[in-house]
C-alpha cells in the first residue's frame, strides 16, 4: 500500500494491567541498585553492542520496568557484558548484573526461555 510518506503509529499507551512485572521484580529483589537508574542513557552511549546495532540498554531497562518483556527477551542476549556501562553509570547501577539477572529470569520462566 502506498503510504505517501505517512505512517500510522501503533497505540503507545502503557497497559500495566496486561504487563508482566515478574522479570522486574526478580531483578529488583537481587540487585537493588536497579532502582537508582535515572535513565540518562550513558550506558547506551558507551555500549559496545550499541555501536554495532540498535541495542540500547536504557531502552531495555525501561521496558523491563514497564513489564513489556517481549522486546527485552529478543535483545538481551546481544549484550557482551563488557562492563563499560557499569563504569560510566553516574548512579552506580550494577548494569552488568542486571543483564545477567534478566537472562537468568528469562531462563527460569518457561514461557520466556531464550
Amino acid at each position: 500500500m502506498e503510504k505517501f510518506g505517512f505512517t500510522i503509529s501503533k497505540g503507545r499507551q502503557i497497559d500495566y494491567e496486561s504487563n508482566d512485572r515478574r522479570i522486574a521484580e526478580y531483578i529488583f529483589e537481587r540487585e537493588p541498585s536497579f532502582r537508582l537508574c535515572i535513565e540518562c542513557g550513558g550506558c547506551s552511549a558507551t555500549c559496545t553492542t550499541g555501536n554495532l546495532t540498535q541495542f540500547s540498554l536504557r531502552e531495555l531497562h525501561i521496558l523491563i520496568k514497564r513489564g513489556e518483556n517481549d522486546q527485552v527477551r529478543q535483545n538481551i542476549r546481544k549484550c557482551m557484558l563488557c562492563g563499560k556501562c557499569t563504569l560510566v553509570c553516574p548512579r552506580g547501577v550494577n548494569t552488568r548484573n542486571i543483564v545477567v539477572l534478566a537472562k537468568q529470569a528469562f531462563q527460569k520462566s518457561d514461557e520466556y526461555a531464550i
Binding site: L52, T53, M80, L87, V88, V93, Q107, D110
Partner: protein, 632 residues
Amino acid sequence: MQFDPFVIPFNIGLYFILIYSVVRSVIWFRDLSRPDKLRLQRGFFGTAFVQSLKEIFLESLIHRKILKTNFKLGYMHMSLAFGWFLLILFGTIEADIFGTKHLNAPYKAIFFRFFNPEHGGMGFEAVYGFFMDLILAFILSGLFLAVSKRFYSKVVGMRKTTRLKATDKIALISLWLIFPSRLLAESFTSGAHGNGSFLTGSLGSWLATFLPAQQMAYPFWWLYSLSLGTFFILLPITRYMHIPTELFLIFMRNSGIKTGDKSGTYSEVETHSCSSCGICIDACQLNFSVGITNIQSAYLMKAIRNNDDVSDIAHNCLMCGRCDLKCPVGIELSPIRMIQRRAGEPENDFRNIYKGYFRSRQSVALEKTNGSSAYDFLPENNPKKADVLFFAGCMTHLTPTIKNSMIKILEASGVNYNFIDEQGGVCCGRPLMLAGQDKEARELINYNSRMIWKSGAHTLVTSCPICYKVFKESYYLDVEVLHHTQFIKRMIDEGSIKMNFLHKKVVYHTPCDLGRGSGVYDEPKDVLKHVSRLEKSKFEDENSLCCGGSLGNMKISNQQKSKIARDAAAELTKGNPDILATACPLCKKTFSAVTETRVADISEIVAEAMMQPSVKKYILKQVNSIKELANI
C-alpha cells in the same frame, strides 16, 4: 594373644578408612581422562614420584609453606601432622623391638603401654620412652595452639578462622580428645606401675597420689580408642579428608595434571585437599576491605564438598587470584571457581550425610536455549593486511588517553600496524567467561579470531590485560600476543623509540590479570625504570592488590568496589609518588576516581617521555613540500 575389647572402635575405624581409601582411589583413577592416566603412569615411573615424596615430607608433614607465611600457624599444623606421624612411626618400631613378637597388629603399637605396662623401666627402654614422651609433648603444644585458635584466632596471628559445620565439629572434638586421652591413659598406667618418662611418668605418679591409677587408666584407654575410631569414620565427610587426599594431589600435580575447565577427578581431589587453614581468608580483599567473610575459597571448597548451592559464593569474587598464590596446598582455586560459575545453579538440592562419603558428580544444569546465535548481528569484517595488530579493547576505548598514547607509540616505532578496533570493535569474550557464559564467549572469540586470521599479522598487541589473558589462553591463534608493556619494552630494546628521562617518582600497581593472571611482572617495571624513578611498594608482584573494579565480581555494590579501590590506592600511594602507574585501563579508571595522586597507564608515561615525533614529522613534511615546490 594380647587383646582387649577397648581396641575394637579403633580397629573398626582404621579398617574402614583403609578400605575407603582404596575404593575411593580406584573410583578417582577410573574417572581420570586417558591422557591424565598416562601422565600418572609416566609420573609413577619417573622423577615425579621421587619429587612427590620430597614434597609430601616438606608440605604434608612439615608444612613448610604455612611456616613461611605464618610461623605459629605453621607450628600448629606441623606439630599435629609431623608429631602424629613420628608417634605412629616410632610407636610401631617400639612395638616391634620391645613387644612380645615382631610384626604386630596396628593396635598393638597404638596401645603399646596398655599391653606392656611394665615396659620402660631401665636403660635403652627408658631413653626410648623419653623420646616418645617428647613427641607427645610436641603434639600437645600444637594442640594447645589449635584449641586456643578456635576461641581466639589472633593467638596464631590470624584475623579470621574458618567456621565449621556440625560433623566437622564432632570430628574436631574427637581429634582434640585423641592426644589428651592418650596422655592420661598412659599416665595412669605408668602411675600404677611406677614407670614412664618425664611427661607420662611424672603426671602419672602425681595423679596416683590421690586417684586409684589402676582403675582410672582403663576408661581413658577406651576414650582414646573411641576418639580415634570416631575420627577415622568421620574423616571422609569432613575437612580432615585433606590428610589422605593431599598426598594424591601432590603426586598428580607433579605428574603434570592440570585443573582444566571441566570438573573431574583432579578438581575433586583439589577440593578435598583443602584443610580450611584460612590463609585465603586473610589474603582476600573482600574480607579486609569490605568485611565479606563467607565467600572465600576455603568456604567455596567446603560448600562444594557438602554439595551445597555454591552459585552465590562462586560469583562473589574479584577473581584477583591472590588466594591462588597464597594457598599452602597449591590448589588452583580460581579455575575451580570458574568451573562452578560455568555449572550454573544445581537442579537438585537433595543431600544427606551418607552421600558425603561418595559425592555424586556435579550435575550441570541443561541450558534452555534454542541454539541460535546470540551475536548474529556482528558485521563481516575485512581488516587490511598488517604485520602488527593493535587491539585496544573495550576498556581502552573508555580511556582515550591510553588509546592515543598507544597510537603515538605505534606511529613512532615505525611498524606496519593496523588498529583493528578503531571504530569500537567487539568484546574479547573474557567478561562473558567470568560470568560463566562460555557458549556466548566462544562466539565472540570465533569472530575475533576470524578477523585476526584475515589480517595475516604475526603480532597482536593489546592494551588491556583482560583481553591479553583471554587471547593467550582461550584463543587458538597463530600470532604472538603481547601486552602493550611488552611491546614497548621490545621497542625500547630494539631502539625503535627514544625517550627522555622523566624526573618523577612512580609507583607501579600490577594489574591482576596481567601479573598473577598471566605472569607478566618484569616488562612493565623495566619500562618504568627506563623513563622514571620506580619506587617499591609493600604490595609488589604476586602480592599486588586488586583495584576493585574487577569484572569478575557482579555481586558487590558500587560502594563496596570503591572502598576496595580506596584502600588499595591508599596502600600504594603511601610513599607519596608523583604518579601511580598501572598497565590496565580498568585499574586506571577505578583508581583515578578515588585518589588525589595522578594515575597513568604506562603507555601514557612513555608517550609523555617520548621525543616529539610529531615535531619531527612536521619538519619533514615541510622539507618535502619545499622539495616538491623546488622540483616544479
